[in-house]
Subunit: 324 residues, 4 copies
């Protein structure tokens, strides 16, 4: 079988690095090119320094659309739309966008929201996919089965703690090691930009839902991984809830419901999501752990690519967990 020829636009950032790490060993794909305006001409391993010995590929200035089947847009929020509009991308080239530019439905936006656990069938036939946000992925996985069953009756109470890589590699006050190490802080409480796509997905499954989604995002003191806790009113038993979730995710190879409290390092460096449910009083609590750069970004992008091209969803994504 001919390998899928992949191109990456904006190759110097974190999500691009992760895509390269996955695609260079993907059995059914190959890296046709990695574009980077700022690093054109430089070996990739000079930017992504762990790739010494893995690839001698060099960043290119201009994408070679003619020789690729799919491109991943990794340029950052706001720049994907600009890129798509200012480039003459052949219709034969599929697009997977990792920014938020196309996640929300709107007139003229033909991108399918690329959460396989919500939209797998739609993705299969799509030309363009908007890859979900990292918080948005971890949070949606905690509520999709309830929404699909029309069982969301109360407000959602969501708290999520993210690793530093979620904020990208641009240096800032809050990315400084001396500040962030051993620190915990909050930002954009109740107003995080991912609330839009979360709400959109919930309403897609349960259009009647109109309660508040209270979301407190926290900056953790680690690099990779998102820990989400969600709770909401639920009148069923815990057994019913677990069955609901297990049934919903039965056909989804990266999502697992477990009987114990999860921790972030169970999934770091994998594309997996591990869930855990508990009932306390009238509340159902659902926890999820994901790797923000994989299931929350580049791993999911490859999962989407696999679906787009009719491959097994897990192809190239049997990644060794780092575990420690």
């Amino acid at each position: 079988m001919t390998k899928i020829r992949t191109g990456i636009i904006g190759g110097a950032g974190y999500t691009a690095g992760e895509l390269i790490r996955i695609l260079m060993y993907h059995p059914q794909a190959e890296l046709a090119f990695v574009q980077s305006s700022s690093n054109a001409g430089n070996p990739i391993f000079e930017v992504h320094r762990d790739l010494v010995g893995d690839t001698d590929l060099v960043f290119v200035a201009d994408p070679d659309f003619a020789n690729c089947d799919v491109i991943f847009l990794c340029m950052g929020h706001g720049k994907s739309k600009e890129f798509v509009q200012s480039n003459d991308i052949p219709a034969s080239v599929k697009i997977i966008d990792l920014s938020h530019d196309y996640r929300l439905k709107s007139e003229g936006n033909d991108f399918v929201y690329g959460l396989p656990e919500l939209n797998r069938d739609l993705i299969r036939g799509a030309a363009h996919v908007a890859n979900p946000g990292c918080f948005a992925t971890g949070i949606q996985l905690t509520v999709l089965p309830l929404a699909a069953a029309g069982l969301l009756t109360g407000e959602l109470h969501v708290h999520a703690i993210t690793g530093s890589t979620g904020a990208g590699q641009a240096p800032s006050k809050t990315s400084h090691f001396s500040w962030r190490n051993s620190n915990v802080s909050v930002y954009k409480a109740f107003e995080h930009q991912h609330l839009g796509e979360i709400t959109q997905s919930v309403k897609q499954l349960q259009p009647s839902f109109h309660k508040a989604i209270n979301f407190i995002p926290v900056r953790g003191n680690h690099t990779r991984g998102i820990f989400v806790s969600t709770y909401t009113e639920y009148t069923g038993t815990i057994e019913e809830a677990i069955q609901l979730y297990e049934t919903y995710y039965a056909s989804h190879p990266f999502v697992f419901v477990t009987g114990e409290n999860p921790d972030v390092k169970q999934v770091v460096n994998t594309n997996k999501a591990i869930l855990h449910l508990e009932k306390h009083g009238n509340k159902l609590m659902i926890l999820s752990v994901t790797d923000n750069l994989l299931k929350g970004a580049s791993g999911q992008a490859v999962q989407n690519m696999n679906i787009l091209f009719g491959l097994d969803e897990k192809t190239g994504l049997n990644l060794k967990p780092v575990s420690f």
Copy 2:
């Protein structure tokens, strides 16, 4: 003025170490003895190794009640009651207990709950003080002003992330560096033992309160500090809320209301609590950061000692923040 003669029971643990660190430089107190059954006869600095050069004191096997004015019980939960019952502690010796043994009111329990921001006047006249739990302190500080004003009308939604020292020095699976480093996990969701004292305090101020306190405690990837987020329904404006909190805490020298999102390292190695309030929709969010070993344990114990002996509350507690 004669210095307060202090004794520590159970001197080898974390909270005892912190007490020693504070009391050895407290201008109005002196360490009369530090008791430790397991370390009797050994220099303190061999256990608390940062105290090399600070003190040559040696652990003693038996408390010398005759030569002290106050003892701090640092033996761990369940053991304080046992100690008090099996020892003939003179009535002249005040007791500050750092365990949970005496925090909940009950028949025959004459310990005052030692949260100065709630019970300062009661503490002043007390013989026995039950020092609050670390989570309990950080959480109560987020709601006391609302409760005092009778304004708690809805459920409390509480999330708190703690440093590892909150769990003490006994080695366990979840205290292993290889596991905990860069990890995030949850434990005892909705069922943490501190819910008892939190509820007790809220009802002390607002007896009508009978809503759920939903509390998710999280293990963070740092050693010191607790980050609390609480939110609940509130019909007033944010300005009214801030005024309510500023007024409530005006006379309390360790609690500060600030205009920006706080972070844990603002208070590490201090006895301070920093709060921040925001209004989102019909919710008031109150954040607090505290050091679990100081305002959440030993610092607060010394604050209580200061109150018990009529000293300025801050005496000996102008600690240099570590900041980084």
Copy 3:
């Protein structure tokens, strides 16, 4: 081709976990059994909790020698010899021992020292392989080319900083998160047990070498990875040194000489070793970074297995770096 049937003895520890993570996706190998006395009957994913969803295999009490081609001994130092002596292991079953029991040559010890960059040809024909220590691997890689060229003329000055997983999962004072986090400490300076195998290898290549190897091992504040700096007298130019190293390692697919200062995270979760050389005055400094659990343990064990069974050395070892 029939897959290599592998068995793991002592399956609950860190190195066994890493072996499982590698072997479960190794294209030419399969896990025949994972033995653990303490966990017999339990699912592997209950111990190695990141393996949820990856394997449903259950620990067995007794090794099934009849159905395997190779066993990995992961029981800890001192126990391998005991196991080999007390079990009737068929001659057809190859043994790769991860302990130090068979690393030093002695009468009756038929284990080949399994550092492929030193002994690849010997390993190829071996029945039994003694997998090197983690420090020993990282350190030897910094000096093998010099020794092979007979150019070691002065003392070796070696400093190495290791992640916490090198010490295994048994809880101890120095593995406690509250102690180790943000801490740096030294242990067994000049007397580390790996000095034996390092000296043995150096003398194998340069029998005349009789200078001191000064080695200071340091406990770092991270979980995975060893950073080694070695320097020694060297009269050649830096260009000659680089050429010497590049030539030596040209046929070794996991070792790379780079032009920039390396950092540990370049190799974490990979089987690679990255070296860097500088000349200062009359000293040649050689740096190496490796992952103590992979190139320093389980990755190298699989590399040895590949060699033993005539596979490409890299088979199953194209691991996604964690990078952050």
Copy 4:
């Protein structure tokens, strides 16, 4: 007694922050002003956010030399000389410079090198003090007694691991949390700029010394603290060495020789230095741990101030260790 009126030039950086934290509770000193060009007019606690509630002082644009007895220059390397030359600083105002501008002796440089353990008597009578570098402090403390006894006969082999605050608060690639967390790396091996002052001090005590000082500086994965290991040839016994060091440091209140391997957190947030000695073969190894921001910078600056003004060296420096 009138308090010493202190001024800080360049008040927004890390070392200035530490000075403020110490001086605000120093019993014999007061903060006359804190100057910052970039932050003039802003409250200090908006930059040093842990100072909320501790001080309402505001940064000033211009130093008020008339109302101060001593100024601390915290502007960064190269800028102190510029400041001193372009400002008309009254002769009555003592200067303590924390940059490297005046550390090396040269024609016209009247600054005394401010390492109290080397130059206490000279500092006492000085008008201007050049505060030592952080690495330089930790390293010199490991060799001063040997040099003073004329016992340095071989090369010095020095390895030191520093926390991130040593590099200041300017964001850079190597200060990014996502890179530095769990990472170890080296920089400026054999060429670090502190070698100049170290050599100068060693030769001050032992003018005959002319051997190489081999120094490998390492970036650790923590924020505060330097771990130094030094070894060199030594023909005496370990007992003699210990006695030599204990005698040398007997009158120096911040330096302690201990019988056990030290760790960095023993001294974090204190002005102490803890040493440990071992003899291996013909080598004497001397370890030191210090806090790079305190004994390595601002704590030592206050120690120097105390000496300059005839106070007990420890005044204001009985700081609570953070310990965890």
